[in-house]
Amino acid sequence: MAEKEYAYFSGCSLEGTAKEYDESLRAIMKALGVNLVEPDDWSCCGSTPAHTVDHVFAAALAARNLTLVEKMNKDVLTTPCPSCLMAFKKAQFNMSRDEAFKDEVNGLLDEAYNCGVESKSSLQVIYEDIGLDAIAARVTHIMPDLKVAPYYGCILSRPPEIAQFDDPENPVSMDKVLSAAGIQVQDFAFKMECCGAAFGVPKREMVNRLSGKVLEMAIDAGANCIAVACPLCQQNLDLRQEQVNKTTGSNYNIPVIYFTQLIGLAYGLSPKELGMDKVIVSADSITRRITREEYEKIKADEAAAKKPQKAKKDAAAEETNN
């Protein structure tokens, strides 16, 4: 595996409420032979609050980090958090298209940013750069009881001309990555419906209702676990799940785990290493793991058991014909 190296921007929430996302991502990247290098002294990307104040101001906060990556003379930056990703992509998109905007943004910065960095979500790096075969190759364990509904959230592949990743209406990248890791995936209709995003603190009840709908649709589809790729979705669906039950009178009890944690489990890494203990609604009951060989053996036994019946059925069919 050629040694791949990326500038890695974890983002503020991955140092706090989404620590397990950072831990599991680093673990599987190490397993996949990818080196993550953090830009020295990176700062907050501004996320949603910044762009409600001013677009030049928001782009400047994001561009400050892109300049750091440029100084590392790296041309690709990966970040797991869609909100940071959108801040970087919008800054890059607008600054590279509009000279005046670029000068205005650089006017707020100490060092000018000259649009040399492309930012990619960690999911995109795993899906496109590392590729499904490489992911499948490292699988050592199977979780037979697990049925995961991949939840993309709203801005991972939208708006299309800025995100330029996967299908803006029917994304399949996480589905494919998880199935490549030997995990049973269950598609569901609300995989892109908004979970309430940054309104968690000021508008909790509204977020609870929106997240409630997502949980309901995932459970209706028959999933017993939801995979996410965004710290804010995870917070609204998992941390606030109890609040959802209180607000909407439901009694959901479905674990919400980062897709990186699931892949880590399939690679046989320890739950501790993957921060599984940090998840509020525990997933231990459904992440029972058996080794790949055991799994193949079970599959072989089942097939053998079915063979005699099939033989019996063919024999019966033979008699009726002649």
Binding site: D167, P168, E169, N170, A189, F190, D220
Partner: protein
């Protein structure tokens, strides 16, 4: 040389931003100009009379009109000066409207430009030589491409007018899209009942030769003398022996072949006759699905065929037809449902297209007229129709309105009530577009009498919930979001150009717009003609339109052909190449470059080898003239001197 210059006001179109009086004044000073005036509407009756009077009064022998585009009125003014006894090539038209007054803001610069355009025209007209057209025989046969309702109407009108017609239809049977409809709006009469007799007329008309399951391979020649190379695709059934009994269809083991006729609404057999009223009613084998071709062995149909018509060895067959005019009626296509990802197009079986729903409604359709949900074959009670599914949508590259979806959706809502009395239909629309005769009353009936619920707003998303399909749309009149749990969703998908339309246009040398629809000679005044004389258009290939308009254009195109053929001889265009055999050195470079092989080698009595132009074949492109090293071959009316005169008029002032 006494040149007359006529500057046109064109009402305010020109005079509004060009000082026409000043242009006329400057024109009078130009060398060779004997008379110059400005006139309100030069192309009008009195305007033309002004020119003919001036010719007599001032003994003018060259005329320049500075007005609109020569593509608009060059012929009008040529006829005018012919009436006054001048050769029609002693005329030049300066375009000071489309190229000057309509696009320039500054009146002074516009006037300056108009003066120079007039100076160029005067310089050229003084170099013009009289040209006389010869005439050539016309082959009074018509090629009609496409066997839909427009093509059939054109073919029948031409044949009834006494012309021999060659019809080429791509699919195994004529009938086009209309043959797939159950009922037609606004009269709700059965489509095949009114189309079938016409199809039979086409088949039985002794002047119409039908090539079904065939395609145009190549087109050579020009108006009056086209050579059409037709590829007859192999149906792997000998149609002379096939009686259309359908036995092969019953016995064929492959049951999941794609049914082109039903747009995949249901599978069909590898060998099939598209529909009961097909003309010609012959079987065709689909090599992509037939086991004989895919796996190399089967032969069931060959065994059961009573007349032994099956022949797996058939190959493409090429034949040539000679015709004098071509009517293109190649119809339209429908947007691929998979492009509507937010509606789950192609992913959810209970989200289908209007034409598939029409096939369900049709008694001879795959479900014999029972409306079913493709997922579980149950009868739906709540049906949601979505208008503008892909149309009027810049983000999908279809900014235009597809013309007839509002109408067929209203019709389908009515038919649904007849088929399932306790059903409830909903229609999401932005604007109900029903401008035709009796059209609006028809859409009102769908709501007033048949209880269809019309919701003003677009649908944003469709997703499954349990067995139902949730349609999430808006009702902008209620001012909020609405959701409907539907059993079945029918999308009025956008009309697009027919597949392969661009390639056909290139064979015909006609131009097509960014959406692949063919460009008519003039959107209002010449809708069924193209810029290529001899090639006419009819029906939806020129743009989305409904059956009455398509039939109307079919007859219009036929009328154009009949008038073209009313004369026995066609006047050739005299602006063709001429060789000066003294200066020609016989290098024959022109012969190699001529796109139409209109130049041949000729040996003079003195034994000198020179080039010779075949008058009737030369199309007047002028490539030879710019190839000839010594200027011996000159395209008349666009000779080097004439064009350089224009260049000098601009540059040496």
């Amino acid at each position: 040389m006494r040149v007359g210059v006529f500057i046109c006001h064109c009402g305010s179109n020109i005079a509004g931003t060009v000082d026409v009086a000043k242009v006329a004044e400057e024109a009078r000073k130009m060398p060779g100009v004997a008379y110059a005036t400005a006139y309100m509407y030069t192309c009008s009756e009195p305007g033309q009379k002004e020119i003919t009077d001036a010719i007599e009064r001032d003994k003018l022998d060259r005329i320049v009109v500075a007005a609109c585009s020569p593509r608009m009125h060059e012929n009008t003014f040529r006829r005018t000066i012919m009436k006054a006894g001048l050769n029609r090539y002693f005329f030049e038209q300066a375009n000071i409207r489309e190229h000057v007054s309509w696009i320039g803001l500054d009146k002074e610069l516009n006037t300056q430009k108009a003066i120079e355009e007039v100076r160029m025209a005067v310089a050229k007209v003084m170099k013009n030589k009289p040209l006389f057209s010869s005439s050539f025989k016309i082959n009074k046969r018509v090629l009609v491409i496409g066997g839909g309702v427009a093509g059939m109407q054109a073919a029948l009108d031409c044949a009834d007018g006494g012309l021999e017609v060659v019809m080429v239809e791509k699919s195994p049977s004529i009938g086009g899209m209309m043959a797939r409809l159950d009922k037609t709006f606004p009269t709700v009469d059965c489509s095949i009942c009114i189309l079938g007799p016409k199809m039979v007329d086409v088949a039985q008309h002794d002047l119409i030769k039908l090539h079904a399951y065939s395609e145009i391979a190549e087109i050579k020649g020009y108006v009056g003398n086209y050579q059409i190379k037709i590829k007859k695709k192999p149906p792997y059934v000998d149609w002379t022996k096939c009686t259309g009994c359908g036995l092969c269809m019953e016995k064929c083991p492959t049951k999941n072949a794609y049914d082109h006729f039903n747009f995949g609404a249901a599978p069909t057999r590898a060998i099939n006759i598209p529909f009961p009223q097909a003309i010609p009613k012959k079987a065709t084998i689909d090599p992509n699905h037939c086991r004989q071709f895919v796996k190399g062995k089967c032969g069931v149909c060959a065994k059961v065929c009573p007349t032994g018509a099956i022949n797996y060895e058939m190959q493409d067959e090429f034949i040539t037809e000679e015709v004098g005019a071509i009517i293109t009626a190649t119809g339209y296509g429908l947007m691929d449902i998979e492009r509507l990802t937010e509606y789950g197009g192609g992913r959810y079986p209970d989200v289908i297209t209007g034409i598939q729903y029409e096939r369900f409604l049709n008694a001879s359709g795959p479900t014999s007229g029972h409306i079913i949900r493709p997922s579980d074959h149950e009868e739906p009670k709540t049906i949601v129709f979505v208008a503008c599914a892909g149309s009027r949508d810049k983000s999908l590259g279809v900014p235009y309105c597809s013309n007839f979806c509002c109408m067929y959706i209203a019709k389908q809502a009515i038919l649904t009530k007849d088929h399932i009395p306790d059903s409830q239909s909903y229609v999401f629309y932005m604007d109900v577009r029903s401008p035709g005769k009796g059209y609006d009353e028809f859409t009102r009936r769908a709501q007033e009498e048949y209880g269809a619920k019309y919701i003003r707003g677009r649908v944003s998303r469709i997703y499954p919930k349990g067995k139902k399909m949730v349609v999430k749309g808006a009702d902008t009149l209620l001012g909020t979001q609405v959701e409907i749990e539907a059993d079945l969703v029918v999308l009025g998908t956008a009309v697009v150009s027919a597949p392969g339309a661009a390639q056909m246009a290139e064979k015909l040398h006609i131009s097509y717009d960014t959406f692949g629809f063919y460009v008519e000679s003039h959107p209002k005044l010449r809708p069924v003609e193209t810029n290529t004389s001899g090639v006419f258009l009819a029906g939806a290939c020129q743009g989305p339109k409904d059956i009455p308009a398509s039939v109307g254009q079919g007859s219009a195109a036929a009328a154009k052909v009949l008038s073209l053929f009313s004369k026995d001889m066609l006047e050739s265009d005299p602006a063709i190449a001429q060789v000066n055999q003294n200066t020609c050195v016989g290098c024959l470079k022109c012969l190699k470059t001529c796109p139409f092989q209109a130049i041949v080698e000729d040996i003079l009595r003195s034994g000198k080898k020179v080039a010779k132009v075949i008058e009737t074949v030369c199309a007047g492109c002028g490539v030879c003239t710019s190839t000839c090293p010594c200027g011996a071959i000159q395209l008349q009316h666009f000779t080097d001197n004439q064009l350089l005169a224009e260049v000098n008029a601009i540059c040496q002032k």
